[in-house]
């Protein structure tokens, strides 16, 4: 692997930038691997990377039906934070946040992690109480999160409309200063390049069409659009299509897939200093390094695999953005799109073994999986390599729904998050 540095950039510049190599190979699938990962998004690629790096398992293939990072990894609004209410979630997302902090160095790839602060706005007395509860719960877990009153919110993010006549006035907010954004494509590319360098095969345009099992029920391999590939361990990180893939092995999951929309504005000069989220009125906004305002909306009401949502959902979010940040009223929107998110009943992920021996699943990230990418891949790799969950993902089983031990972040946040 070519190492990236200021020096290598300088040296390549002398050669007219003609000497850069491809960042990863495009290999033909072999007939057998130790581990197959289904889905080359951030979570799947991170899993392959940590399998190779931390567990020495390099005979790994990542199968992708489309192109690398073309699903939800390339469709999200890139928000990173770890200020979750419950101990189990806090541990998982904080594990990810700590990996984010050193990720560019670890991968030798600039993922543009930018801890610019995530400000979650409170608009009513219920919000104020629940966010203060979050602040205290986070403090007990050693996670930074602080309460700002309305004036402090205005000082931290001057474009906000504080004190104006609003249907949902800003009463304050919870600020996680270590939260922020990262470049979503670079995360997929960085993990792909680093995993490839350690020997992992990333195979695009290879759709899994079946999961073959032996007479005793254990996984033998996967049928794909490019033929049968043998493997005794298969890890599924297929996001919105997890129900479809697991259905091939006869496993039913507590998942439903919904379209989640995002949109970006025309690029403008730096105007918005942080990430602002409002769960109550469904508005999530930050400014990308290209200058676009990146805006996240809520999910549509109904399940769908169509990767597009209804206009009234995006419109609802823009109504909120225009009230929160009046100077954006004349901003034009450039593009909008949808991704398919797999939602669990308690809005917490499943990173777990399944009833089928050799089949593992990492799913249920719902509307907020990007922030967890490094931590998710890290503990999923552990789960696959050792055939038992890491301490951090041990509570995130499928069986928690049977046993009634839900990690009920949906009730904690009152909405999708």
């Amino acid at each position: 692997m070519q190492s990236y540095s200021a020096f290598s950039l300088f040296r390549q510049a002398l050669g007219g930038h003609a000497g850069w190599q491809r960042q990863w190979r495009s290999p033909q699938p072999r007939t057998e691997y130790d581990v197959i990962i289904v889905g080359a998004g951030g979570h799947g690629l991170a899993t392959a990377y940590y399998l190779a790096k931390e567990h020495g398992i390099i005979n790994v293939a990542v199968l992708e039906k489309g192109w690398l990072g073309g699903g939800n990894t390339g469709r999200n609004t890139t928000i990173i934070r770890s200020n979750y209410l419950f101990d189990e979630s806090a541990a998982l997302y904080e594990h990810a946040l700590k990996l984010w902090e050193g990720l560019s160095q670890d991968l030798n790839y600039n993922v543009m992690y930018s801890p610019r602060g995530v400000l979650m706005l409170a608009h009513n007395i219920h919000d104020v109480q629940i966010f203060k509860r979050h602040v205290h719960a986070n403090r007990l877990n050693g996670i930074d999160n602080e309460w700002l009153n309305a004036e402090e919110c205005k000082a931290f993010c001057p474009p906000l409309n504080v004190g104006g006549a609003m249907r949902y006035p800003i009463l304050g907010g919870a600020l996680q200063r270590r939260g922020g954004t990262a470049r979503h494509d670079a995360v997929a590319w960085g993990y792909a390049r680093a995993a490839d360098a350690r020997g992992v095969d990333i195979i695009e345009n290879c759709e899994v069409t079946g999961i073959r099992r032996s007479v005793n029920g254990a996984v033998e391999g996967v049928e794909t659009s490019r033929g049968f590939i043998r493997a005794r361990k298969v890890g599924v990180a297929a996001a919105g299509h997890t129900s479809v893939v697991l259905g091939m092995a006869g496993v039913r999951l507590p998942l439903e897939s919904y379209p989640l929309q995002a949109l970006v504005s025309e690029p403008v000069k730096p105007a918005f200093p942080c990430v602002v989220m409002s769960n109550t009125i469904h508005a999530y906004i930050s400014q990308s390094d290209k200058g676009e305002m990146v805006i996240g909306a809520g999910t549509d009401a109904y399940t769908s695999y169509s990767q597009r949502g209804a206009l009234h959902i995006a419109n609802h979010t823009l109504d909120a953005i225009c009230e929160l940040v009046p100077m954006f009223r004349r901003l034009r929107m450039l593009r909008s799109w949808g991704g398919i998110v797999d939602v669990t009943p308690d809005r917490s992920p499943i990173i777990s073994k399944t009833p089928v021996h050799g089949l593992y699943v990492n799913c249920g990230w719902g509307t907020g999986g990007f922030k967890a990418t490094p931590g998710s891949g890290n503990v999923f790799a552990w789960t696959i390599a050792r055939d038992e969950p890491h301490r951090i993902n041990a509570p995130f089983t499928i069986e928690r729904f049977r046993d009634g031990i839900l990690i009920d972040e949906s009730a904690a946040a009152a909405v999708a998050h």
Binding site: S243, L253, P254, E256, A301, Y302, Y305, H312, F401
Partner: protein, 100 residues
């Protein structure tokens, strides 16, 4: 936005309706007799198909009644709508209607 046909009121905009999740999930006749796996399956497991999905809608800002819809989750095409309590219709081979 979907154009949904309420079997009682006719075609209306999606905004008039609320979504009720997967249809034809019958509450167990004897809940106390169920083991934990079966109870969890009833409460939480969903078929979540990529294809035709039977789902409940409620005409919230209209007649207020629940009814069922068959919708293709890939194209969001609504194949059929029928009153609650009726069995699930069989989609016709072209996917645009139903054969009873």
């Amino acid at each position: 936005m979907l154009l949904i046909t309420c079997p009682h009121c006719g075609p209306r905009a999606e905004l008039e309706f609320s979504y009720g999740g997967e249809a034809h999930i019958a509450r167990p006749v004897d809940p106390a007799g169920l083991d934990d796996d079966s109870w969890a399956a009833f409460l939480y497991e969903r078929s979540n198909p990529r294809g035709v999905h039977a789902e409940r809608w409620r005409h919230l800002h209209g007649c207020g009644r629940f009814f069922n819809v068959l919708r293709d989750t890939v194209s969001d095409t609504i194949v059929a709508s029928y009153p609650a309590g009726q069995p699930r219709p069989v989609p016709s081979p072209d996917g645009k209607g139903t054969t009873r």
